[in-house]
């Protein structure tokens, strides 16, 4: 029997937070390993198309630091994140601070975010929940805008076609 796994869901539990959830068809230990082994993280945590992750250093233990940096294939510009692990409970939970490093692309994201990632496993399916607390609404919204280089105008154009009665109810369930 093939079970359909939940795609990534994004919700806004409060003014300062973003929550991302996703299911994986793999044991929790493996999902945890893919999140905590630098060579593995570099293969999937890439963001929008056209970016690679040349720097990925992680000392996964309480008080340990990490440094992530991405580079654009197109113009070589870089940005990154760094921070410290606050709580490490393999294979179920990692809490870390995340500070934005604007590199060559600029921008800022407030005073850092507190990220709580949790993994639960049921019947061979691992559910990931990542709660990001940005400390303020402004910082959260800045973080949410990442990667939206073509700006709001494009999304307004895009949605002209997707308005419907049904759509309204569906959009509500996301928020």
């Amino acid at each position: 029997m093939v079970k359909t796994l939940a795609k990534a869901e994004v919700s806004l539990p409060s003014d300062r937070e973003v929550k991302v959830t996703r299911e994986f068809k793999a044991p929790r230990e493996l999902v945890y390993k893919a999140h905590t082994t630098p060579e593995l993280v570099q293969r999937w945590l890439l963001g929008p198309p056209g970016w690679t992750m040349p720097v990925c250093e992680m000392d996964v233990r309480v008080g340990g630091k990490y440094r992530w940096r991405w580079r654009s294939d197109e113009d070589g510009k870089e940005f990154g994140f760094h921070g410290t692990y606050r709580e490490v409970a393999a294979p179920e939970k990692i809490v870390h601070m995340e500070y934005y490093d604007p590199g060559d692309i600029g921008g800022e994201m407030g005073n850092g975010a507190l990220i709580t990632m949790e993994l639960t496993e049921k019947g061979g399916v691992t559910r990931l929940t990542s709660l990001m607390d940005f400390g303020s609404k402004e910082a959260r919204d800045a973080a949410l805008s990442t990667g939206m280089t073509d700006g709001m105008e494009a999304s307004y154009k895009l949605l002209d076609g997707m308005l419907s009665e049904d759509g309204t109810a569906k959009h509500l369930s996301h928020l």
Binding site: D15, G147, M148, L159, L163, A169
Partner: protein, 121 residues
Amino acid sequence: MNDSDRLDATFMALADPTRRAILARLALGAASVAELAEPFDISQPAISKHLKILERAELISVGQDRQRRPRRIEAKPLAAANAWLERYREIWEANFERLDALLEELRPKPAAPPGKKSVFS
């Protein structure tokens, strides 16, 4: 309002469970203030205050009927807010799809089926 202010107004209006419940009700069809107040354990003036915030965010509008003044949901700001989140979601989904492929690769390979003995056993 510019796009950014409009999104701020939308998210501010949505950051309250009563207002989200009001919108969920209006998604089923237009309703008067009295009808909207009914399922909630709060006063009509309190509901009116929530409605004003929703109206300012252009999430709802007031219908023609002068007496009932039915409130109607307006889809556009919600769709805009959703499209904005959707872009962010897509970035994560792309990451997670790469992770799916990686997990598949890392998965311990199933043992040889019983009966099919290796030459060493």
